[in-house]
């Protein structure tokens, strides 16, 4: 894999490790508020120190610990959303592409277009707005908007693969449809979905942060990067570090997943035109 991709992989591994070991890694409890007891005055009291490398937020909570726990939430959401939406998307796409006919017309002709005609994050906002803001509903909403992309990809791939000779051979030998789909079609169709899944994680992390920023996702005091960034808005003048650290965290995560996705794409398809 190209260099950027490897770099992204390293970053992601670090983030995953941080997420898994968050309770152990975080030096302080992310929701305990405490008055800073250093000798500085005014806004200076919140700034980064050796004791609090990322500083404190407006309620006296340690920003480093909150960023670490935020990593856990982001990774959780990313993995869950991608897992659920790829699963649904693969199944629907494979069935639609393999069987064709009215099944295909309904799914790809109608259903996909309906979902695609909505700006997807709007649908997520709508769902969370009405179902009630919570992490649970957030994951549900993001999965609902996410599966369509994978389904379309899968369908396209299946349309190609099902014409291959070995599929015809399998059918001639009497293999059942299910067997053909799972053992033969799927493994050959799955490559672009892996690339899409990596990019999808970047999207899911971004979406979670966006929705939490709007107050529609994780609820305070739970530390999500989006929530932290929203809190930071009112304190830009006196505590810009509240913006800096969660902001960099989000950017790094998105960058890393994009690098990995691009790296995977190049790696899996050497025929790609390089420009």
């Amino acid at each position: 894999m190209n260099r950027l991709g490897k770099f992204g992989l390293v970053i992601i591994t670090i983030f995953f490790l941080v997420a898994i070991f968050a309770p152990v890694l975080a030096p302080y409890d992310p929701i305990t508020q405490k008055l800073p007891n250093n000798n500085r005055q005014g806004a200076e009291r919140l700034s980064p120190t050796w004791e609090h490398p990322f500083g404190l937020d407006d309620l006296g909570r340690d920003v480093l610990s909150r960023v670490i726990h935020g990593t856990k939430i982001s990774m959780q959401v990313g993995v869950l959303v991608v897992l659920i939406s790829t699963l649904i998307g693969m199944i629907v796409g494979a069935i639609s592409g393999y069987y064709g006919g009215w099944v295909d017309r309904f799914f790809s002709g109608f259903l996909f277009n309906v979902f695609l005609s909505f700006p997807s994050i709007l649908l997520a906002i709508a769902m969370v707005a009405f179902l009630g803001p919570s992490l649970h509903n957030l994951i549900l909403a993001l999965s609902v908007i996410g599966w369509v992309g994978y389904a379309r990809l899968m369908r396209g791939q299946v349309l190609k693969v099902r014409e291959y000779d070995f599929i015809t051979a399998a059918r001639a030998v009497g293999a059942s449809d299910a067997r053909i789909l799972f053992l033969h079609v799927l493994p050959n169709a799955i490559q672009p979905l892996i690339v899409q899944a990596s990019l999808g994680m970047a999207g899911a992390v971004l979406a979670e942060a966006s929705l939490s920023f709007l107050g529609l996702g994780v609820q305070p005091p739970t530390p999500s990067w989006g929530v932290m960034l929203n809190d930071a808005r009112s304190y830009l003048r006196i505590a810009p570090h509240m913006l800096l650290f969660p902001g960099v965290a989000v950017m790094l995560t998105v960058l890393a997943f994009n690098f990995v996705g691009d790296g995977l794409r190049e790696w899996l398809d050497p025929k790609q035109k390089r420009s």
Binding site: V114, A129, A232
Partner: protein
């Protein structure tokens, strides 16, 4: 002229089932609320009588099919109901008041994106491999991975607080549009720059470029008069595809900069549990997106004379 109308009509026909689905989905939204939506909105202090009255007013006590019929007839008449928290406010009026602000922001963001990406993309594409190209790529990458809710406050910090050059929020004049437009357009600018660059690189390898150069045209003429015209077609497609992202991004940008548009109205309505208002806002945004897509499709067909307008 006649062909354009025919294309438009055909496209409209395809769009109708989608519009139907969108209206139906939006209608159903208020019914997925766990618990009682009216009680949620009115709060714990509301009496039984008040809740019942509001339910009647919104028609929520009618059978579902009747509600659906009423909703559709309302939509076709342009009546999107009344606000749940402020029943004297008509949803459609509040939306229409805010609508121009959002369109202004979206178009400004689009303009920023195009104004940045075309020159940058051309420079990068024509100087492929050199430092300026790599620099542009890095900036583009940063633009794509910096979400609006990071870039916006960052710009506020830099330009409004530290440098005191631009205002923080609100919509009281042209200078108030600058930061929000740049925040909104940044991500799209990054995507477009990369696209323009690839397009330019590809087109520069075509035969007609050799011909133009052989004819004696200077480099600038070659690029701007010929390469760009062909290279811009995929760009138009991308703009169309990304318009939805732009609209969604407008919601976040409006919140950050207190921009009085449809996006902020939506979020305010969500926070006050004003469900009919939220439904109306979402419907408007979705319909805008669908219309914008149709227009992009039309523009795309008009731009590329190789595509038959049938």
């Amino acid at each position: 002229m006649r062909t354009i109308i025919l294309v438009l009509a055909k496209r409209l026909l395809f769009v109708l089932p989608v519009v139907w689905a969108v209206v139906t989905l939006v209608f159903l939204l208020i019914h997925i609320v766990p618990g009682d939506p009216v009680r949620n909105a009115l709060g714990d202090n509301a009496t039984e009588v008040q809740v019942l009255e509001m339910k009647q007013k919104l028609g929520l006590d009618l059978p579902l099919s009747r509600q659906y019929f009423n909703y559709w007839s309302g939509v076709l008449r342009g009546d999107l109901g009344v606000s749940l928290v402020n029943p004297s406010d008509r949803v459609i009026e509040k939306i229409l008041v805010r609508y121009p602000a959002t369109i202004e922001l979206a178009l400004a963001g689009l303009a920023v994106a195009i104004l940045f990406s075309i020159p940058l993309g051309v420079i990068a594409g024509t100087n492929r491999g050199k430092i300026i190209d790599n620099l542009t790529s890095i900036v583009a990458l940063l633009g794509i991975s910096t979400p609006g809710f990071v870039l916006g406050p960052l710009m506020i910090y830099l330009f409004a607080i530290k440098l005191d050059l631009l205002p923080v929020s609100g919509r009281y004049g042209l200078e108030y549009l600058i930061l929000p437009a740049v925040t909104l357009g940044a991500a799209l600018a990054a995507i477009l720059t990369r696209m323009v660059r690839s397009s330019v690189i590809e087109e520069l390898q075509e035969d007609y470029v050799r011909t133009a150069r052989a004819k004696g045209l200077n480099e600038r003429q070659v690029v701007y008069k010929h390469v760009l015209k062909n290279g811009l077609i995929p760009v138009v497609t991308v703009i169309g595809l990304q318009f939805g992202v732009l609209l969604a991004g407008a919601i976040i940008t409006e919140v950050i900069f207190s921009w009085p548009g449809l996006g902020r109205l939506t979020i305010d309505a969500i926070n006050s549990r004003d469900y009919p208002m939220v439904q109306g806002c979402i419907l408007m945004i979705a319909l805008t997106y669908i219309i914008a897509n149709m227009l992009t499709d039309l523009a795309y067909r008009l731009l590329d004379p190789r595509i038959k307008l049938e």
